[in-house]
């Protein structure tokens, strides 16, 4: 493969490296060790092991920051257009029969970026949890799981081969199971945990299949050319771009992998587990289900970008699986966010739709903006979640219901309010907040790469985002205080888990600002939400596009050639206009609806049929989850109901429930009829059969001598006769 020989032949500046880069593998190891320590000794520690978690997070934050710094140096040491080789270290984990399973690190811009994000957010969330979960029954377990999760995620991020990636991937799944089900006394929570793990697991079938296919397809080539196994990410990338692979194989592999991403990143149609996962404690929601774990799927796509690039013909334009799924997800989940009263659910759906943006970007060849969106989104989404947590923690008695228990909180909790506003603007993509620089770039590039239709969808999404965030903001912070936040504690409204929070001292005292342990992370995050965008501020020209310089792999045998849309203020202003329009409309409507109780709007959905249907449609999440249960509850018969029921049962989310329930039915049937009757029955019957033969033979044993004699002689005679016949 001359391509590589050439690459070596060119005179290149020697790339600098450094301790942090060479020892990046320590980053996941530290939390892993911390986890073990917490499990073993946590209970006996002064702070119940939480200190270990926080310290380990800080350690890995430092390490990854160092790695990031040295990576930047490395990039700077390279010439323009030179492909900056990732720092790869790999040791053999085990091998047999020619199979080699390595373990090692694969550090490049992407990895460094995500590492930093994960470590950073994890640290803040852990600090936040110190306060938020104080006195919880399973305080130690919580921190153990949280730490293990970070370890898994970090391991997945710097994995140099698919096996290690799979390992981290599954550990994250396990931790999310443990964390969502943290308050497993309630059936709801354990069910949600089960659903989350199981849904993701369904996606994982794709991962298993994809890994296997890629291994066998690529192994020979990679061995020959790069002397790495077919699991190596570097090898797979090069192989995908080498023009070797059979198009169908790589296409199927890419689709298989993407199915896994759908499951993990809550893309349509497997997104339904994500909102339910909000049953977990708020820090979990903000860490796992907004900023880090759910981007694992996106990360996988970005990591193995060449495979998808070639397999799904991304440069071809027009449309492909990823963009379609991404597009659908954006709009569908954004629409759902309108009808939620639970603030966390609003954020959950907005997360889903933002993930949709990332997928859309990746699918449309806008690699850099999508990755950058991971970066920015992490900060403001975490900030929003923590803000919601702070509200419920200090103002609304652990209730997350905006309509009933919130409102007018801007006065009582100014810090939370300020941070919230900043993050909201960032999320909406308002200049100059961080969201603008990533999201707008995605939209822009999607259009530029020839996915016009999806650009429009994305714009609609932007409009809706702005609208529902405004609604949420209004409901929470403006208007009159309602319910718990108004002071009269309505304990029936409490979120279930405060039953477990032993400390509820402030529950009786009215709403107030949260403590420092909560507000400080909020402030930090909001600052980043405000500023982080400038790391890749395309509007201000090349010199500002640091991220692109540092993170985006230059075109080479390992990275496809990526095009970037030239920034144009016209387009930017247009999208900004759309956003502001969304804010304005939503503001006016919310104001009239919730404060003025404008008769023309109140109950509009009841009056206007079409709106009513639409509203109902949304409230019921397109009948994905609840509607059919309601139908069951109310026993509504009739064709439409049963049709909807059928749809829910059989399509989309129904599939998951269906698999569970129907396979339970089937299995029950199989067990009763096949196993117990046929297979097992055969045996028992044969036994009884032999017995019956015995019964049949018994009369010969009549006990009468003369009959015995008759039998004796007749047998002899018959035998003689037969033998005479056959012998003569």
């Amino acid at each position: 493969m001359n391509l590589f020989s050439n690459a070596d032949a060119e005179v290149l500046a020697p790339l600098t490296s450094g301790w942090f880069l060479d020892h990046a593998w320590l980053i996941p190891v530290v939390p892993a060790i911390a986890f073990a320590l917490i499990i073993l000794f946590g209970k006996r520690m002064p702070f119940k092991g939480s200190e270990l978690g926080v310290l380990s997070m800080l350690a890995s934050l430092v390490l990854s920051t160092g790695a990031g710094y040295q990576w930047i140096q490395r990039v700077n040491s390279a010439t323009e257009e030179q492909f900056v080789d990732p720092v790869i270290k790999s040791w053999t984990w085990w091998q047999n029969a020619g199979f080699e399973f390595g373990i090692g690190q694969h550090i490049d811009g992407l990895a460094v970026l995500v590492l930093f994000v994960v470590a950073f957010i994890s640290t803040l969330v852990q600090i936040y949890s110190l306060e938020y979960l104080r006195g919880d029954r399973r305080y130690t377990h919580f921190f153990a799981a949280l730490t293990l999760f970070s370890g898994g995620m970090l391991a997945m991020v710097l994995a140099d081969n698919m096996m290690l990636l799979l390992l981290g991937w599954e550990i994250m799944g396990l931790c999310s199971f443990m964390l969502i089900g943290h308050w497993w006394e309630e059936d709801v929570n354990s069910k949600a945990a089960l659903k989350a793990f199981f849904t993701v697991r369904v996606g994982d079938v794709g991962l298993l299949v994809g890994i296997s296919m890629l291994y066998f397809a690529a192994n020979d080539w990679t061995r020959e050319n790069l002397d790495v196994s077919g699991f190596s990410i570097r090898g797979i990338s090069a192989w995908a771009l080498s023009g070797e692979p059979n198009s169908t194989v790589i296409m199927i592999a890419a689709v298989a992998l993407f199915i896994a991403c759908i499951g993990k990143s809550g893309q349509f149609p497997l997104h339904t587990w994500l909102p339910d996962a909000m049953a977990g404690p708020t820090p979990v929601s903000s860490l796992l289900h907004s900023s880090t774990m759910v981007v694992a799927g996106v990360y996988l796509v970005a990591r193995l970008y060449p495979v998808f690039f070639v397999g799904l013909d991304i440069p071809g334009g027009g449309g492909n699986l990823i963009v379609i799924i991404g597009g659908i997800t954006i709009v569908i989940s954004a629409a759902l966010a309108f009808v939620q009263n639970d603030i966390k659910r609003v954020l959950a759906y907005s997360t889903v739709s933002q993930l949709g943006y990332m997928m859309l970007g990746l699918g449309a060849g806008a690699w850099m903006p999508a990755v950058f969106h991971i970066f920015t989104h992490a900060f403001f989404k975490a900030c929003l979640f923590l803000g919601a947590g702070s509200i419920s923690h200090s103002a609304s008695h652990h209730s997350f219901d905006m309509k009933r228990d919130m409102g007018g909180l801007r006065k009582v909790m100014p810090i939370t309010f300020a941070t919230w506003i900043i993050s909201t603007l960032a999320l909406c993509g308002v200049f100059p907040f961080s969201g603008f620089f990533s999201k707008d770039e995605i939209i822009d590039n999607v259009g530029h790469n020839g996915y016009g239709l999806f650009m429009i969808i994305a714009l609609i999404g932007a409009f809706m985002t702005a609208a529902y965030m405004t609604r949420a903001t209004y409901l929470t912070f403006f208007g009159k205080p309602r319910g718990a936040s108004a002071g009269h504690a309505d304990h029936s409204a409490h979120d279930a888990h405060d039953a477990h929070d032993s400390h509820d001292a402030h529950a009786s005292s009215g709403p107030h600002e949260s403590g420092l342990l909560i507000t400080v992370p909020l402030i930090i995050l909001s600052v980043l939400a405000l500023s982080s965008g400038f790391l890749n501020a395309t509007p201000f020209g090349e010199s500002w596009e640091r991220m692109k310089l540092w993170v985006e792999p230059r075109h080479s045998a390992f990275a496809p050639e990526l095009h970037h849309a030239p920034f144009m203020w016209s387009k930017a202003l247009m999208s900004l206009a759309i956003v502001f329009l969304g804010i304005a409309v939503s503001w006016v409507l919310s104001f009239r609806l919730f404060t003025k109780r404008d008769p023309r709007l109140v109950g509009l959905t009841q009056r206007v049929k079409i709106l009513g249907v639409g509203h109902k449609f949304l409230v019921n999440k397109y009948y994905l989850d609840d509607f059919y249960e309601k139908i069951i509850v109310r026993n509504i018969a009739g064709p439409i109901a049963s049709a909807a029921y059928w749809i829910n049962q059989n399509i989309l989310d129904g599939i998951i429930h269906k698999i569970a329930s129907s396979s339970r039915l089937i299995s029950g049937w199989v067990y009763r009829n096949i196993d117990q009757r046929v297979v097992d029955g055969a045996v028992n019957n044969s036994a009884s059969f032999t017995k019956s033969v015995g019964t049949a033979a018994q009369p010969s044993q009549s006990g009468k001598v003369s009959q015995y004699g008759a039998l004796l002689f007749s047998a002899a005679g018959v035998a003689a006769l037969v033998l005479v016949i056959i012998n003569t």
Binding site: W93, W94, Q95, N96, A97, G98, F99, M163, L166, L167, E170, I171, L174, F177, G181, W184, E185, D187, S190, K191, A193, L194, F197, F198, R201, V202, D204, V205, L208, V209, I211, S212, M213, Y215, F216, I659, A660, S663, R664, I666, S667, G668, V670, Y671, R672, D675, V679, D680, V683, A687
Partner: protein, 513 residues
């Protein structure tokens, strides 16, 4: 196959030491239960010590060769000799049997199931141990057969005497099934013997000369062996004895059954059926694979249908052994490595699950899943251990179960040359779906048992708080090795793979690589 014969006494000692213990017990007066337990404990510890000594003397650089080979005349008239030895395939299972026995003995010290009779119980346990260990070291078909059958009676009595309500039905069923299989197996062995010139029953000899048998004859002989081994595994159509046996057997019985006995069948495939009859193996492989995947899905469905915890675990081992057989059916060394690993992993994990089931039964006096709940609140440690085992059993990477499961699936993607690739890729997808089912039934089980709030409705007179004590010392003693093993093997699978691999390579050399 060249053999290393130095200090070849260890195997015989390690195998027959338990019998010595039995004799000592028999000589003791009946009353002294403590003494009996002591003897059993000492014997099993000594046995394990010998086993460890064997492992230390074992030359891991030559794991593909038979080592500690001892050969003496046994039944010269029918050309069968006492030929024993271990290689990379046998050794881990040989040790596994010893470890499991010791742990079971420890567990039984104060968990003796009704009706007591420690003397008989431990005696049977030790005889069982001899049978299992012997099966793994026998290098002569007749010797193999003898040990293979020696296991039957003790297990029959263990189920039948110390078992649950329908123990008698279960025990007879278990026995008839296995005996039926082994009768046909014996006929197959004899046919093999004569078709290879009636020279010898020694496995190495047969491996050399078995390939020369005409193909259609091989297929018939393989059929005989197949039934014999498949019943033991158990594979799909022959599995129905397993749930009854497991459900009715006492905890110790279930543990040994799951941890070691099921392996005798798969071991037989790897050690005898495949290398001696390569042509037939090729013909049979797709059907074996098919039955294996059926078993995977079928076992999973069976699990979802269960309301009894122990029975559910029993069905789960049908599914897991399905993965093992799938790996074997690929006829690739990688697949068989995976299968071997799967055997050990399943042994540790499912054995552990049965231990837990036993303790649950002891505390709640029921195994009805619907009657148990909130174990995590009442017995957090037991609950977490249970969760750990469930995760290991559903093949979570980083725990032992994964390395048996995923490589098996991986190897199915391209089986040995001459096997229909398309068929096997279909198998692969089905097996991958099987992992989802595994997650489904295990997590569902865990959710129902460990989560939620304690239920004291049906058995309140039992579940008083002094009874719901958490994990006891004996249990810790008996369990920690398994738990550690699950974790260590999960993190460092090479510990086993490096031992299996050379031997498997040699085994498969008859297939022309």
């Amino acid at each position: 196959m060249n053999m290393l014969r130095d200090n070849n006494w260890v195997l015989s000692v390690g195998t027959f030491l338990p019998i010595l213990g039995v004799v000592v017990m028999m000589l003791m007066p009946k009353a002294q239960d403590q003494a009996v337990k002591f003897v059993a404990l000492v014997t099993s510890i000594a046995t394990l010590a010998v086993g460890i000594f064997t492992a230390m003397k074992f030359d891991f650089d030559q794991a593909e060769k038979m080592q500690f080979v001892a050969e003496t005349k046994w039944i010269s008239v029918i050309k069968s000799s006492y030929l024993i030895g271990v290689d990379g395939i046998s050794l881990p299972l040989y040790l596994l049997s010893m470890v499991i026995t010791l742990l079971v003995v420890i567990y039984s010290l104060n968990h003796l199931p009704n009706p007591g009779k420690p003397k008989a119980f431990f005696a049977l346990l030790l005889v069982l141990q001899t049978g299992m260990a012997g099966t793994f070291i026998a290098q002569d078909l007749i010797l193999f057969f003898v040990f293979f059958e020696l296991v039957l009676l003790p297990m029959f009595f263990m189920i039948g005497v110390w078992g649950g309500e329908q123990r008698q039905y279960a025990s007879i069923k278990f026995f008839l099934y296995t005996m039926f299989g082994s009768a046909l197996m014996l006929v197959a062995f004899l046919a093999l013997f004569f078709k290879t010139g009636a020279e010898s029953f020694s496995i190495p000899y047969l491996i050399e000369n078995g390939g020369s048998i005409a193909k259609n004859v091989q297929i018939w002989i393989f059929a005989g062996m197949f039934v014999g081994f498949a019943v033991k595994v158990p594979m799909f159509p022959f599995h129905t004895w397993l749930p009854d046996a497991h459900t009715q057997a006492p905890t110790q019985g279930s543990v040994i059954l799951a941890a070691v006995l099921l392996k005798l069948g798969t071991y037989g495939f790897v050690r005898i059926a495949l290398p001696i009859l390569p042509l037939a193996a090729r013909e049979w492989a797709p059907y074996i694979g098919g039955l294996a995947v059926i078993g995977i899905i079928y076992g999973a469905l069976g699990c979802l249908a269960q309301s009894d915890m122990k029975r559910l675990i029993a069905f789960s081992s049908v599914a897991h052994m399905g993965f093992v057989m799938l790996g074997i059916s690929t006829l690739t060394s990688f697949g068989i490595n995976a299968a071997m690993f799967g055997m050990v992993a399943h042994g540790l994990i499912t054995g552990m699950l049965f231990f837990i089931a036993g303790s649950v039964k002891e505390r709640y006096h029921t195994l009805e899943i619907s009657k148990i709940g909130g174990m995590l609140t009442q017995m957090p440690r037991l609950g977490w251990i249970f969760g750990f085992c469930c995760m290991a059993s559903l093949g979570l990477p980083g725990l032992a179960g994964f390395w048996g499961e995923f490589p098996a699936i991986l190897s199915t993607y391209n089986p040995a040359a001459g096997l229909n690739v398309t068929v096997y890729r279909v198998f692969m997808v089905i097996a991958a779906l099987g992992t989802v089912f595994a997650a489904a039934y295990l997590l569902w089980l865990y959710q129902r048992i460990a989560f939620g709030t304690p239920k004291n409705n049906s058995h309140d007179e039992h579940s008083t708080h002094e009874e719901l004590h958490d994990v006891t010392t004996h249990e810790w003693l008996a369990w920690s090795p398994l738990l550690i093993g699950i974790l260590v093997l999960g993190i460092m699978p090479n510990l086993l793979f490096s031992v299996f691999d050379p031997a498997v390579q040699v085994t498969l050399s008859v297939f022309g690589g």
